[in-house]
């Protein structure tokens, strides 16, 4: 049985589209939604309810639809939680009702409805407590949900995110919105109009003419006028939330299966023209398929040229219902008008509606159009903090005291009459004061009647009935916020668009209180479900934290570097195409036998200058820096005020008032922020200057027994004591030559302007080649430093490690000048006897211990004493080495501990962290 009319509507009858619903072939037209195409084909059951699996049809025609939720597959990709009323039909769609198997028509769980007595509100809390909720939870979770998220990762499903601004944002492209936007644009405001349908017009399509002009002409004229006055229009775009400082979230929808684009919009002024929706009437079996909102029927007729049914009972007293009755009758439907005030009121029939029982009369019917009055869509108004006033003539909450910069107009403001709405909207657009006109919309309210017989639905999607609200009231969940959480009323994916008003009216009636006194629950964004991807967008990987690139990247690539991310930098992990682990071993061995060249450019180079610089760095460092002579270098720690190590590294003094802090490569930004905070807070910022030159300087490290020979070839004077530096030149460019060692071997750090780094790199490689020395990557360097027991912050330390845990005790005992974190090193926690301390671990043979393995006691169950932080095979020592943080570790030297990892255990002996050359002979070899 088709309900489609031969003419009219906004659909394109020359473009038929094929799709399936629950496997059954169906047809619709370009411009249809899945819902309108199914309605036109005579399909009445589009879904099953969440709890009782009751058959459900269409109530709404757009975002207020609670029932018709589908999983839709297109081009092999499935998307859950698609509202059939807002999903525009595309050729080849496969739609499937959620909560139903094998189909919405025949659902095997349909029988659950027979047991409804046992499923009242609070059922889970009461029933599944004994012996343990967790026994039941997996089964219940499996039964819940609105379709399945595809486990496939959809690479193309990414949201663009843009930022935009305008003077006047008009939300809603119906008659009021169009009029307001036109007035605003013509008044010279930079205006943006957003409409969530794909076409402008809103409820205008329901009217034959508007403001004296045929509707389609009127819409086209408004659109042209807005655009020629410089205004912009976005259709199929939903304003889903208003956030702090009037940030508006706009989701701009594209074709089905694409993630909506997020537009973060700032508007000086927002005009809300979001319209109103019908609220359901609460009567027995009011959830049966075939019971539809008056407003929805008007939309299906106007936009999609589809009747809601043939034999229609009109159960409403609103002015809109009167207009619609005429239109439906003209289109060939039979209309029976029924006054909702009669009791008892109930719908007869199961999957197919048979009759409406009103008082002692039975009206045979296949369709009931119902409305309990109009509810303005004030969600965005409330997001922004606007107040609501209760209106005794319209029986609805209307916008009251406005939030800053916001005006409501049209049906959203309770101005339901079109001519009044246009007048009001034009004033709003011009930013003139508006006064809500007297309404012609007098309705007799029909709120839920407590105690009345039959199962009467309040929340269709979450299966909350009047009895559940009564139960909640009996159990003292009378506040609307408690009612909501106890019964889940309004907590479904439609967020109570249709159910909140009947729900709170029911509670008001039960308690004998006026509706405004009961109040509403909090309106929270988003207004409609928005994919998480839209919030996340492309904010990942490189666009979230862009990789820092080395000036020598082309040179590394030229010699076969395997580049990887290390601490935010793209660095050579190793060179060559061999097995990475083996490559690192070979490189580490070369560094010990001849020499290695390392690109250490990511090392921090933060300059601290000025007359107060010395006192400042002395305060920032755990170690005493004030005694450092110009030309000398010192290793030290920066602490957070809580005493934990923030960073380590060397600091060089270039002159009386000039220092260079060489912080860890991955900590440059955080150290700079730390320094700036202390510089400006508690110091005179005009006497200290901090300048981060990390990216301006490249640093190349030459380390190993033959390091001196390489530097000699370059004509650089290597007569330099360990931990000192000299400012010199090379190739007529300034060069800082420093002797510090992260490997334990003789090492030189050569720093120069980044643009001169390629020449130095080439020269070093050329000089190294005859000595069998060459470049090594970060992996080999990690082995070299671990052999010496040199730590990496964040790897060999955790958020509680203090310097004395690593054996650096002197400043804690002796430094008299204040420094950041000083007092925290003398707390009970800092003095605790069971602190985790850095130790080495020795295993005689076999593979290295797994990093992260726990060292455990022999108790049952075993207790963790600490864990392995770094672990490698040492090619020089020919055995595994490891560093670990172990409770009271220094007192355990020589003890054998059990290392546990994923069920496997091994024995390891606690040893000093430094495994190679503990005397330090290699440093000056």
């Amino acid at each position: 049985m088709t309900l489609r009319l031969p003419t009219g509507g906004l659909i394109d009858r020359s473009k038929p589209l094929r799709f399936t619903f629950d496997g059954k072939p169906c047809e619709g037209f370009q411009g249809d939604t899945i819902a309108s195409a199914l309605l036109a084909s005579g399909t009445r059951i589009l879904g099953r309810s969440f709890k009782y699996h009751r058959p459900r049809g269409l109530w709404g025609a757009w975002v207020d639809e609670p029932n018709a939720i589908m999983s839709v597959t297109l081009n092999g990709q499935t998307f859950p939680n698609c509202l059939a009323t807002t999903t525009y039909l595309e050729d080849g769609m496969e739609a499937r009702a959620v909560n139903a198997w094998p189909s919405a028509q025949f659902d095997v769980k349909g029988g659950l409805d027979l047991f409804h007595r046992w499923f009242a509100a609070g059922f889970y809390y009461k029933t599944f407590m004994w012996p343990d909720w967790h026994l039941f939870e997996p089964m219940i979770r499996r039964m819940a949900g609105l379709g399945h998220v595809s486990p496939q990762h959809l690479d193309e499903y990414t949201s663009d995110q843009t930022h935009d601004r305008c003077d006047t944002l008009v939300i809603g492209g119906g008659p009021a919105g169009l009029a307001a936007a036109e007035a605003a644009a013509k008044a010279g405001h930079d205006t943006l109009l957003v409409e969530d349908h794909a076409q402008l017009g809103g409820t205008a399509h329901q009217l034959a003419e508007i403001d004296g002009a045929p509707t389609q002409d009127w819409i086209a004229q408004r659109q042209a006028a807005i655009q020629s006055a410089g205004g912009r229009i976005l259709v199929h775009t939903t304003a889903f939330g208003i956030y702090d400082h009037n940030l508006v979230g706009l989701a701009q929808n594209g074709p089905f299966g694409t993630a909506p684009r997020l537009i973060r919009l700032r508007a000086a002024r927002i005009i809300l023209a979001t319209g109103a929706i019908d609220r359901p009437l609460t009567f027995a079996n009011n959830d049966r398929p075939g019971i539809m909102a008056v407003e929805a029927a008007a939309e299906y007729l106007a936009r999609y040229a589809t009747l809601p049914g043939r034999d229609i009972a009109l159960l409403a007293t609103t002015p809109q219902a009167v207009t619609l009755a005429t239109q439906l009758a003209q289109a060939g439907a039979t209309i029976t008008r029924v006054v909702p005030a009669q009791t008892p009121l109930s719908a007869r029939g199961g999957k197919h509606l048979k009759a409406l029982q009103a008082g002692d009369r039975t009206h045979p019917t296949d369709t009931i159009l119902a409305s309990g009055g109009l509810t303005p869509l004030v969600h965005l108004w409330r997001h922004a903090g606007g107040k609501l006033d209760w209106c005794e003539t319209r029986h609805a909450f209307l916008p009251g005291t406005p939030p800053d910069g916001m005006t409501a107009t049209g049906a959203a403001n309770g101005t339901f009459d079109t001519d009044h709405a246009l007048e009001e909207a034009r004033a709003a657009g011009q930013n003139a004061p508006i006064k809500r006109p007297e309404t012609t919309h007098h309705i007799t309210p029909h709120w839920p009647t407590p105690g009345s017989p039959g199962r009467q639905w309040i929340d269709f999607q979450h299966d909350v009935t009047l009895k559940d609200v009564e139960l909640a009231a009996r159990e003292n969940y009378t506040s609307v916020e408690h009612l909501k959480r106890y019964t889940t009323l309004g907590m479904a994916s439609d967020q109570g668009k249709t159910s909140n008003m009947p729900g709170l009216a029911a509670m008001a009636a039960i308690q004998g209180r006026p509706i405004p006194e009961v109040g509403t629950t909090t309106f929270r964004p988003p207004f409609v479900p928005v994919p998480i991807e839209t919030y996340h967008g492309a904010h990942s990987k490189q666009l979230w934290t862009p990789l820092k690139r080395l000036p020598l990247e082309p040179q590394h690539r030229a010699v076969g570097a395997a580049l990887g991310e290390y601490g935010g930098w793209l660095r050579p992990g190793w060179y060559g195409t061999g097995d990475p682990a083996q490559q690192a071993q070979t490189e580490a061995l070369m560094a010990r036998q001849t020499a290695a060249i390392i690109d250490a450019s990511p090392l921090g180079k933060i300059e601290v200058m000025g007359p107060d610089a010395e006192a400042f760095v002395n305060f920032i460092y755990y170690n005493t820096i004030a005694t450092l002579k110009p030309g000398r270098i010192r290793y030290g720690f920066m602490l957070a005020e809580g005493g934990a190590i923030l960073d380590d590294g060397v600091i060089a003094r270039l002159g009386a008032n000039r220092f260079v802090i060489s912080c860890s490569s991955s900590h440059v930004d955080s150290v700079r922020t730390h320094l700036e905070a202390w510089r400006q807070d508690g110091n005179d910022p005009d006497r200290i200057f901090i300048h981060d030159t990390t990216q301006h300087w490249a640093t190349l490290t030459v380390t190993g027994p033959k390091a001196r020979q390489i530097l000699d070839t370059l004509g650089l004077d290597t007569d330099l004591a360990h931990m000192s530096l000299r400012e010199t030149t090379w190739n007529d460019t300034p060069l800082r030559l420093a002797r510090v060692s992260f490997t334990g071997d003789t090492s030189f750090e050569l720093s120069l302007r980044a643009s001169h780094a390629p020449a130095l790199w080439d020269a070093l490689l050329d000089a190294g080649k005859p000595l069998n020395a060459g470049p090594i990557g970060v992996e080999a360097l990690s082995i070299l430093r671990a052999e010496k027991g040199f730590i990496m912050i964040g790897k060999d330390t955790d958020g509680e490690t203090m310097p004395h845990d690593l054996g650096f005790t002197a400043p804690r005992q002796k430094k008299t000048a204040p420094f950041v974190g000083d007092r925290s090193l003398h707390t009970d926690t800092a003095n605790a006897p069971d602190r985790k301390q850095l130790v080495g671990l020795t295993v005689p043979s076999g593979p290295p211990l797994p990093t992260g393995a726990h060292l455990v006691t022999d108790d049952s169950p075993p207790r963790s004493l600490g864990y392995v932080t770094s672990s490698y095979h040492s090619p020089t020592l020919g055995r595994p080495i490891a560093l670990a943080l172990v409770e009271n570790g220094t007192d355990r030297m020589g003890d054998t501990l059990t290392a546990w990892h994923l069920g496997d255990t091994r024995q390891a002996t606690v040893s000093p962290p430094c495994a190679l050359d503990p005397e330090g002979d290699r440093l000056d070899a």
Binding site: Y243, D244, H245, L247, R264, R266, G385, E641, G642, R672, T673, E676, A677, Q680, D681, G682, P685, D686, T816, P818, F819, D822, R823, S824, T827, D828
Partner: protein, 88 residues
């Protein structure tokens, strides 16, 4: 998302800013004996006020600290002023 006005750079998106501390906290003079309670209060105690607050924030892109008075309930920002004194 909020808009904060850096006294040096002008109005910017909140993501460019970093909360530093509640205003008015002074570091105890650690050359003196400090009892554990005083130090713990300095480290951990926050007023966490409801309503009008005075806080120190950093604008990360220019690294300048400034004082911000704002309302922690309505999110209204009353004033932002540089922390540093006028140059003498």
């Amino acid at each position: 998302m909020q808009i904060f006005t850096c006294p040096f750079c002008g109005p910017r998106d909140e993501r460019e800013f970093h909360f530093a501390a509640e205003a008015g906290k002074t570091r105890p003079d650690t050359r003196q004996q400090i009892d554990p309670e005083t130090w713990a209060t300095y480290l951990h105690a926050q007023r966490n006020e409801k309503g009008r607050t005075r806080e120190v924030w950093m604008h990360l892109t220019c690294a300048e600290l400034f004082l911000m008075e704002r309302d922690s309930v309505t999110m209204e920002v009353y004033a932002t002023t540089p922390l540093r004194k006028e140059p003498q």
